[in-house]
Amino acid sequence: VHPNVSQGCQGGCATCSDYNGCLSCKPRLFFVLERIGMKQIGVCLSSCPSGYYGTRYPDINKCAKCKADCDTCFTRNFCTKCKSGFYLHSGKCLEKCPDGLEANNHTMECTSIVH
């Protein structure tokens, strides 16, 4: 089986193989590992899936997981949208807003108290 043509290889791969899927991505795409049951394959995407953030490096662009309480993030330690039940404040997901701020249940963020 020619390694580059197989069910594991999809559009974004630069190199791939049957068992491992993508081994490297076309320029600018993000490499992410996907687990499907027992199998784990490499996939190449233009932006990382929800719950992951991308970091670009000269040789590879990689997706990595946000923290457990975060839906979308800029880096692991800086969230941009929290999971339900948490309020977002300065990149952090909080169960309760700090003193001096109030919880906005529409935007699910901590905002300054408007007098």
């Binding site: 390694p3 190199t15 193989s17 049957d18 068992y19 491992n20 899927g21 081994l23 490499f31 590992l33 687990r35 499907i36 049951g37 027992m38 199998k39 784990q40 394959i41 490499g42 040789d59 990689k62 990595a64 997981k65």
Partner: protein
């Protein structure tokens, strides 16, 4: 003194399907010890410090299909360190399919005392094992130490 690698018996028991028995060899980078657990495939790039281990359960046996060396010109870690990382992430044993990368056997020969056994598998045995992986059917694996003659038969 002829170097004798310790052979391994690998019993693969897919649920509700006839078990298959394969053979491999223990790599001396790790201890020669039996192990068993649920079979899970790991992509070669998942065993890097920068990659996360999204698998939280421990007690599995991981199978890594190694690609031809030229397809991963500068690997993130040596194979020994990849095996160590897999053990730290909860693998009870690491199976390397070295069909496409025979150089792996040399890389995993130097003793490092890794606690989780490392077993090399190749050729037809590896093909059968990867066939189980490709069908993505849950399977239980038992690795046993195959008996060896008391003294290697010097004539």
């Amino acid at each position: 003194e002829r170097s004798t690698t310790q052979k391994a018996i690998i019993r693969v028991i897919p649920l509700k399907v006839e078990p298959i028995v394969l053979e491999g060899e223990f790599a001396s980078v790790a201890e020669v010890t039996p192990a068993e657990g649920k079979l899970l495939q790991s992509h070669p790039l998942s065993l890097c410090n920068t990659s996360e281990d999204e698998h939280t359960e421990s007690g599995f046996i991981t199978i890594v299909k190694l690609e031809q060396p030229d397809r991963d010109p500068n690997p993130c870690l040596s194979l020994a360190n990849k095996a160590k990382l897999a053990g730290e992430r909860g693998a009870r044993a690491i199976l390397f399919d070295i069909t496409d990368d025979e150089s792996a056997a040399d890389q995993l020969r130097k003793p490092r005392g890794l606690s989780q056994p490392v077993v090399l598998i190749r050729g037809h045995d590896a093909e059968l094992l990867m066939g189980v992986v490709n069908k993505n059917r849950e399977a239980h694996v038992k690795i046993e130490v195959k008996e060896q003659p008391a003294w290697p038969d010097y004539d």
